[in-house]
């Protein structure tokens, strides 16, 4: 059971209800991982805006970001997020269980094209040891035609996942 009270779709009120209705329309349900934020409607709004921004990208970008969320969650030990994003990868992006296991050990095996794989490896390097990132890493990505905005986005997404993971671990979000 979560350590914070989480309203349901049925008993939510005010701004929380408005946001829940949007989420319900998009996903068909409101996952526990989003309901957690409702203790602070403004924080909930911020998190939902963040998710909507990511969902506005093309399918390959969304797949990359789902893999990032899966691997960062595995790295930081957030079982809820590993299960949620692992499930998304298998159900929506046809990633196999063997591929999931392989990328846990070696992100470079992730089923992505060369550019996205380079971004994934870069983001995981930042998560594991940000200080070790150098100008050479940046130049390597630039040689692949990757823009600074893309580099920013992937590191921002990875670091935001650490925020989510920590909140879920702190407040004990349960599987849906």
């Amino acid at each position: 059971m979560s350590l914070l009270t989480m309203p349901t779709v049925e008993n939510a009120t005010g701004e929380v209800k408005e946001i829940f209705d949007e989420i319900q329309a998009a996903f068909g349900m409101v996952p526990n991982g989003i309901r957690l934020w409702s203790a602070s409607p403004k924080a909930l709004r911020g998190q939902w805006d963040h998710i909507k921004h990511r969902m506005s990208k093309d399918q390959e970008n969304q797949k990359l970001h789902t893999i990032i969320r899966y691997l960062v969650s595995d790295e930081s030990g957030c079982k809820y997020c590993v299960g949620f994003n692992g499930g998304m990868l298998m159900n929506h992006y046809d990633v196999t269980q063997d591929e999931l296991i392989a990328m846990n050990d070696k992100p470079s095996t992730a089923p992505l094209d060369e550019r996205n794989k380079a971004l994934l490896i870069f983001a995981m390097k930042a998560v594991k040891d940000a200080e070790s990132v150098t100008a050479e890493d940046i130049n390597l990505l630039k040689r692949l035609g990757i823009t600074e905005t893309e580099m920013f986005d992937i590191v921002h997404a990875a670091s935001h996942m650490l925020v989510v993971n920590t909140l879920f671990k702190t407040f004990k979000v349960q599987q849906d």
């Binding site: 350590l3 940000a130 600074e148 921002h156 920590t166």
Partner: protein, 206 residues
């Protein structure tokens, strides 16, 4: 927002303290060029300009790490709105916020953030250096009211050993008068500090 506004008069001092401290440190900690370029205040347009103006009206300046977010204006806006959540919550004092940021940054090896918030504690909030040194060694020495110290310790626990946070911790804060909204916003802000440290360290933004 008024509480938040108080920071403005001293933020520049905090920054100058940070930068002057950096200048006397060993070469490994001296300023280096950021690995990515971002939008300066002079070149800012549209919503980036609007966010910068809002930050400047509150803090008196736009810190470089926040400018670093300008590569994606939507994420700049999203992050700034999340910062404002705790800033607008009057149950959190500036001292509590600065202590939390300094201690979380230290745990995450973000020298910029440690220096920035240490400067804020010393310059704006007049916290003596020996008190800060004691705080860095042992956060339970924080000279804060019992209610705020309990929140500080939960913020630190959630960012270092989140699996260890339990019902007793949450109940303890509630008994001291903290609401679930406060607890969510406090822990959320502390975890954002971890993300900020990672972002700064990756792109060497100073």
């Amino acid at each position: 927002m008024k509480l938040f506004t108080k920071i403005s008069t001293i933020t520049a001092l905090a920054l100058s303290l940070t930068l002057s401290a950096s200048a006397t440190q060993d070469p490994s900690t001296q300023l280096v060029k950021p690995l990515i370029s971002y939008v300066s205040e002079a070149d800012a347009k549209d919503d980036v300009k609007a966010v910068y103006a809002e930050i400047k009206s509150i803090w008196g300046m736009v810190p470089e790490p926040i400018k670093g977010l300008s590569l994606n204006p939507k994420m700049l806006r999203n992050t700034w709105e999340s910062y404002k959540v705790m800033g607008e919550n009057k149950n959190f004092s500036e001292k509590l916020g600065a202590m939390m940021r300094m201690l979380v940054a230290e745990k995450n090896n973000c020298e910029f953030c440690v220096g920035f918030n240490k400067g804020m504690l010393m310059g704006m909030l007049k916290v003596p250096e020996d008190e800060i040194l004691a705080l860095q060694k042992d956060p339970t020495t924080a000279k804060l009211p019992a209610k705020e110290k309990a929140m500080l310790l939960l913020m630190l626990k959630s960012t270092s050993t989140p699996h260890d946070v339990n019902k007793a911790d949450i109940d303890g804060l509630k008994k001291l008068g903290w609401s679930e909204k406060d607890i969510m916003e406090g822990v959320n802000q502390a975890t954002h500090m971890v993300a900020t440290a990672l972002f700064i360290d990756t792109f060497k933004i100073q």
